[in-house]
């Protein structure tokens, strides 16, 4: 049983290490890639939810605000009519009761408008997501914007890690090719150069992989 030469030993060790580093880098790349994709998805879904909340809550809010304005405007019309008829000293007798009826209508309209705004949408069967959207507050939307910024930062960080892992994997592939070349050339000068270059490429890939973690 004869042992191998130092060249063969070095080649075998480097080939084995190449396989191990490749599996470690593949794991790192897939993990970084999936976490980056996951964060990017959330980062893309959140703006849709934010815009939906802004649009839906504003449409509903504007409607309810306008109904109260309408109720107030009717009251102001009635009041203006009362004041005008008072200045005319009873010249137009119907103006006073008309103004009072408008004022009474305004009170009822205001009560109706407030009642309308107070109806919980869920109690009428509006689905939960739509309910959340039409009742979205500025505070909630601002919180969503903050979260969106954070997930985009996370997506960018993982994307950068993914890129480094892919580069490290490319170096591993180069190392494997050079080690294959060394195996063909055997222990001659060409073999030693290929072996050395393969070792350097492998070391660089491992270093790049470690760098990707930080």
């Amino acid at each position: 049983m004869t042992d191998r030469t130092s060249f063969e030993k070095a080649l075998a060790v480097l080939v084995g290490l190449t396989a191990l580093v490749a599996s470690l880098l593949a794991t790192l790349e897939l993990d970084a890639g999936r976490k980056g994709d996951q964060a990017a998805l959330l980062g893309a879904r959140l703006p849709v939810q934010i815009f939906q909340g802004i649009a839906a809550s504003q449409l509903r809010g504007d409607f309810h605000l306008n109904t109260q304005r309408e109720a107030g405007a009717t009251g102001l019309q009635g009041l203006a009519r009362l004041l005008s008829s008072f200045r005319e000293h009873g010249a137009l007798d119907f103006e006073d009761p008309l103004g009072r009826s408008q004022f009474a209508a305004s009170k009822r309209l205001r009560a109706a408008a407030l009642e309308m705004a107070a109806i919980p949408p869920a109690s009428r069967g509006v689905d939960p997501v739509t309910t959340r959207a039409i009742l979205a507050t500025t505070k909630e939307l601002a919180a969503q914007v903050r979260v969106q910024g954070q997930v985009i930062d996370r997506a960018n960080a993982y994307s950068s890690r993914d890129g480094k892992a892919v580069f490290a994997l490319s170096l591993v592939a180069i190392a494997a090719a050079l080690l294959g070349l060394a195996a063909v050339f055997k222990a001659g000068p060409g073999g030693h150069i290929a072996l050395g270059a393969g070792g350097v490429a492998l070391a660089l890939s491992a270093a790049w992989g470690l760098l990707a973690l930080f």
Binding site: L20, T27, Q49, A55, T67, T74, A105, A111, E115
Partner: protein
């Protein structure tokens, strides 16, 4: 004499057997690593598909939702509330007429009639049913929330879409892929041990044993991951 001859023969046979074992270990480690890596890659691709589906569904449902809200709150509700306003004003004018006499009474009745006619025309101009009892609140307003719920129920298929389901499916597949690819690490270790066994012949046996154990653990891990996510 015969013992001297047999020993090298046995050594050579043993050595050849170990050479074969090294070759088998290296091949097994490579095949197991490639199979697990390939499977992880496919599973990750499925996860990405599900995540993209979640985004498409989010956009689709949000567009439909905002359109329903816009339609109810800007096209229907303001007109429905104008109907309420005209109706309430007509009722109050009629009530005031009941308390008046002569010209004042006539003017108030004309005002009430005008407002009622206006309300009637508004009711005819908007979608049937909006001016009826279903959408009236106890105080005579318009129940926009009930109307929105009905509007949303027109397309139950759309209402059933939940982007979170696709996202969670993607999350699960993504975890599956991560564990599957991690199972290639023992296969990588097995390859390293096989390469060391090839280089360092004096320590071949323990290296080979450890190598086969590593490749077996990669297979077991792969099977366990598949079973856990089946």
């Amino acid at each position: 004499m015969s013992e001297r001859i047999e020993e090298p023969v046995l050594d050579r046979a043993e050595s050849e057997g170990e050479d074969r074992a090294v070759a088998i270990l290296l091949t097994l480690a490579a095949v197991v690593g490639i199979v697990l890596g390939g499977r992880a890659s496919l599973v990750r691709s499925s996860a990405t598909d599900d995540w993209q589906q979640a985004l498409r569904e989010e956009i689709k449902t949000a567009a439909a939702r905002v359109e329903d809200v816009r339609y109810v709150y800007t096209s229907e509700a303001p007109v429905a509330f104008q109907f309420d306003e005209a109706t309430i004003r007509a009722e109050e004018a009629r009530r005031a007429a009941g308390r008046s006499t002569g010209t004042t009474r006539r003017v108030l009745l004309v005002e009430a009639k005008t407002l009622s006619l206006y309300a009637k025309n508004l009711a005819e101009g908007i979608q049937k049913g909006l001016a009826t009892g279903r959408y009236r609140t106890p105080k005579g307003g318009f129940d926009a929330a009930r109307r929105l719920a009905d509007q949303r129920r027109r397309f139950p298929d759309l209402l059933r879409i939940d982007p979170n389901r696709a996202e969670h499916r993607g999350d699960r597949l993504s975890r599956h892929a991560a564990l599957e690819i991690a199972a290639t690490i023992p296969a990588g270790v097995a390859f390293l041990l096989g390469a060391l066994a090839e280089a360092f012949r004096r320590r071949r046996r323990p290296l080979l044993l450890a190598g086969f154990a590593a490749v077996a653990s990669a297979v077991v891990l792969g099977v366990l991951v598949e079973a856990a996510f089946a």
